[in-house]
């Protein structure tokens, strides 16, 4: 394989294992020694409260930071959790617990499960209608939802105790009598560590990558086979469940719940902590929460703030505004780890795995058939009536002047837009009504006219998103940190490395996508499309912005893709490239096919010449 680069390429070593443990190590050590170095019970309570906010901020971070969905009613899920356990332990199991405090051992897990389920349901309820809404409508709807939950908690007196709330919630202890705050603290610490480990595992899995992919570019995420609506809903459910679980422990810590425990301001505070620490990072919201709760506790002793409690939220608001202007990333800028698998140290053989969904085709068999496809946008007819076929073993060139409808055709095939009429068949199956994630799983992959990578991810992570559908599965398994449940991930990383090697960018696999040059970006985009194991690859002007030698290299790459039994539809303005690699060319003009044949025929076709050069150019 030839290397067209003149600059030396630094081969990055896989990241050392020890470095990963710095942040978790600091957190664990600080968390464990905190009760022994903090002066007095009051500060241990503050530390316990900061753990509550750590969990809340981490849960909201899933929505706001990772998936890019604003939720202004997040506290509602926390309320659901707190009331769930209050009703359980005081109403349902009150007498049992009174007789035998040790029964909390089995009542508490029931509360936690109930809280997860109920908060999850609440998350689904608020998430579902918002799936189609834009950011700002979403904000209003979640704000209103938060209010509804609060008002319900005030007015459903029989169930929630109304404004008085529910008192005498048993403390986190199995014996009766006073509970030292250290015990409560360590129970909370244990729970928060479990939650954080689960969330971190989830983030470094196909689920987390799907969320970030949706935030970065929803359209592309969908074209990688990610069912974006489902994953957005999942983000709500996961965020809600996290808040629900910590709500349970918050209720036991305080031993009472009432509507005043949660205000609208808390929604804003949790959101601010996420922003303050760094939305979309793992340790940012945690840092923000700890810093803020301790700051708040210190500030409580300052006389000025004692007489003006509004200074606290005002100050936080001011910090958020200044941060948004000067450092929108927040305090912590450590990149999110989206996979734990590390690649090998040597480049593997460059091979591409075949599409697994159907029997192999014989050369010349029809793979993709477009029949009388029509696409109308308002009053504009972009495609009049397009009929053509792609046969196995060929590279089909698609050419036409600007505005001829080439990209429209590609969008219709890949499910980005829905055709007005006509049919598209892939391997005998009608796909014209499918969404782009479904088209992707049928073995049709694409690239975009302007490169659309997930810029914030590394090259390898971009490719792993391409392998999403093979990795996705039963959600709870991704919550566990143990490596054995991630065998699939390692296999996919190996495959990704092979594909990267195939397009000759293996060396840069750990670089961030935004730091690549134009040709590297192109090749990574093609590699990501190949990671979906396509049968058909749609390339939309891959040579745009490339120099001559890069274009020649690209031509070789396209031919090699065909050798891997993948059929290619190539849109290109670079005539040398198009004529050079295509076996057959379809010419589109004003939404109609005006020519269809081998390159040398197309070159002489009078209709094509007229479309490109005008009628006088004979």
């Amino acid at each position: 394989m030839s290397n067209t680069h003149t600059t030396p390429i630094v081969i990055l070593k896989p990241e050392l294992g020890m470095k990963r443990w710095i942040w978790p190590g600091i957190f664990l050590i600080l968390g464990l020694i905190a009760p022994f170095i903090l002066p007095g019970d009051k500060w241990i309570r503050v530390a316990a409260l900061s753990l509550v906010y750590v969990a809340l901020a981490s849960g909201l971070n899933i929505l706001v930071g990772l998936t890019g969905l604003l939720d202004l009613g997040f506290i509602a899920f926390f309320i659901v959790g707190a009331y769930t356990t209050a009703i359980f332990t005081v109403r349902s199991f009150g007498p049992v617990l009174e007789a035998n405090p040790a029964a909390l051992m089995w009542v508490l897990p029931i509360s936690v499960v109930a809280a997860i389920v109920l908060a999850g349901i609440a998350g689904t309820i608020i998430g579902y209608p918002t799936l189609r809404a834009r950011g700002d409508y979403l904000a209003i709807m979640t704000l209103a939802f938060g209010e509804i939950v609060r008002i319900v908690s005030i007015n459903w007196t029989d169930f929630t105790g109304g404004a008085v709330g529910i008192r005498n919630i048993p403390p986190l202890s199995i014996s009766s009598g006073m509970v030292p705050p250290t015990v409560t603290y360590f129970v909370l610490f244990g729970i928060v560590v479990i939650l954080l480990v689960a969330l971190a595992s989830l983030i470094a899995s196909p689920v987390g990558r799907a969320w970030v992919a949706i935030r970065e570019d929803e359209l592309v995420a969908s074209s990688m086979g990610i069912r974006t609506r489902r994953y957005k809903l999942l983000a709500y459910v996961v965020g809600a469940s996290t808040a629900g679980v910590i709500g349970v422990f918050f209720a036991h810590m305080n031993q009472f719940v009432n509507p005043d425990s949660f205000t609208l301001e808390d929604n804003f505070i949790v959101l601010s902590l996420v922003i303050l620490g760094g939305a979309g990072t793992f340790w940012g919201p945690i840092t923000g929460a700890v810093l803020w709760i301790f700051f708040q506790a210190v500030a409580k002793d300052i006389p000025l703030i004692q007489s003006h409690p509004e200074f606290r939220t005002g100050f936080l608001a001011l910090i958020v505004i200044v941060l948004m202007l000067l450092r929108p990333g927040g305090i912590v800028s450590k990149r999110l780890e989206l996979t734990r698998a590390r690649g090998g140290a040597l480049p593997p053989q460059g091979e591409v795995q075949p599409f697994a969904g159907a029997a192999p085709k014989a050369t010349g068999e029809v793979v993709l058939a477009v029949d009388r496809l029509k696409q109308v946008f308002g009053g504009l007819t972009a495609l009049e009536s397009v009929t053509f076929q792609l046969r196995h073993g060929e590279i089909l060139g698609l050419m036409g002047p600007n505005g001829a409808g080439k990209s429209t055709l590609l969008n219709a095939i890949s499910g980005v837009t829905r055709a007005t009429s006509g049919t598209i068949e892939a391997d005998g199956e009608r796909i014209e009504k499918l969404e782009s994630s479904a088209v992707s799983t049928r073995g049709i992959a694409r690239t975009f006219q302007t490169v659309r990578l997930f810029w914030d991810m590394t090259v390898l992570e971009n490719l792993l998103v391409g392998g999403h559908t093979r990795l996705a599965g039963f959600l709870p398994k991704f919550l566990s940190p143990f490596p054995f449940v991630r065998r699939g991930e390692r296999a996919t990383v190996a495959e990704a490395e092979a594909v990267l090697s195939f397009v000759d960018v293996w060396e840069i696999r750990d670089r961030r996508a935004s730091s690549l040059d134009a040709y590297q970006q192109r090749r990574v985009e093609i590699a990501r499309a190949l990671m979906t194991r396509p049968r058909v690859l749609l390339l939309d002007e891959p040579a745009a912005g490339l120099n001559e030698s890069e274009t020649r290299d690209l031509a070789r790459l396209i031919s090699r893709i065909r050798e891997q039994h993948i059929d290619v539809i190539l849109i290109e303005h670079d005539m040398d490239l198009l004529m050079g690699v295509s076996d057959r060319i379809v010419v589109l003009d004003h939404g109609v096919i005006i020519a269809d044949g081998p390159p040398n025929e197309i070159r002489k076709n009078p209709a094509v010449l007229e479309a490109y050069l005008g009628s006088d150019a004979k």
Partner: protein
């Protein structure tokens, strides 16, 4: 009938605020959550200007004791000024930032303004002397408070005037062009930054008027008074099709009439 007129008056207030949300949304594509607080500052601006003695940040300050009409102008100016300031300082640098950053900033601005107001005027409600307009009128057998008619009348007139500005003046044309396509407007020589500033000031003036009307009608002003009306106005703006002025206003009216017994609402809940 009485209920309907009551509802229309409250609806007029929501409508004004909804128009403010709607117009700024049209131009900038963002929900300026801080309009609820501009609404509140408008009310306080007018309140402070009329009183002979005001308690500000715990200190007694001799007030200007200005006549009502001048006080209203001052409330309006205060509101517009704050609107101009927050656009200039907080929103303009984020023009090209993701929508999420703008929304979060808007919420933060709204919280900050509320905290400032709480510091200045306290957390409790401050009574507003309601104007003496005489006995209730009897219209079609219903007792109608005169203040309700004034509120509704002012709201309708202001909205009409605003609509006329947008429809018929050069700056209105520039606002519409900017709302349609910022880049194209810029290429056509429209000073987009100035247009957005103007839109903010106009919207803030509407919000301030709404706040003044609200405080006159209910007889109080409070740091948290803007929250519930803003939420309702947002709903109204969405109801009327966000971006449309008549739609937003009518949305406000509909919401006002359909809200249960608006006269019985003493005050929005203070715990927020």
């Amino acid at each position: 009938m009485q209920e309907i007129i009551n509802g229309l008056a409250v609806g007029g207030i929501y409508g004004l605020l909804a128009v403010a949300f709607s117009v700024v949304y049209g131009v900038l594509g963002m929900v300026n959550f801080a309009f609820g607080e501009i609404f509140m500052f408008g009310a306080f601006g007018a309140l402070v200007a009329t009183q002979t003695n005001t308690v500000i940040a715990g200190n007694s300050v001799p007030g200007a004791a200005l006549p009502t009409w001048l006080a209203i102008v001052i409330g309006l100016v205060v509101g517009s000024l704050i609107g101009w300031l927050i656009e200039r300082v907080a929103y303009r640098p984020l023009r090209n930032a993701p929508i999420l950053s703008m929304l979060i900033t808007a919420i933060a601005v709204s919280m900050l303004l509320r905290a400032v107001a709480t510091f200045l005027f306290g957390a409790a409600q401050v009574p507003v002397a309601r104007p003496e307009l005489g006995d209730p009128l009897i219209i079609l057998g219903a007792r109608v408070q005169r203040i309700d008619l004034v509120v509704l009348g002012v709201a309708v007139l202001v909205t009409l005037a605003f609509w006329a500005v947008i429809r018929f003046t050069p700056i209105g044309r520039a606002i519409r062009a900017t709302a349609e396509d910022k880049d194209a407007a810029r290429l056509m020589g429209v000073g987009v930054d100035r247009v957005i500033s103007t839109t903010f000031v106009l919207g803030s003036a509407m919000a301030a008027i709404a706040g003044i009307l609200y405080s006159q009608r209910y007889g109080f002003a409070a740091a948290t008074m803007g929250f519930i009306p803003a939420l309702k106005a947002l709903v109204a703006a969405v109801l009327g099709g966000i971006g449309s002025i008549p739609g937003a206003f009518v949305g406000g009216l509909v919401l006002g009439v359909s809200s249960p017994r608006p006269t019985c609402r003493k005050a929005p809940p203070t715990a927020m």
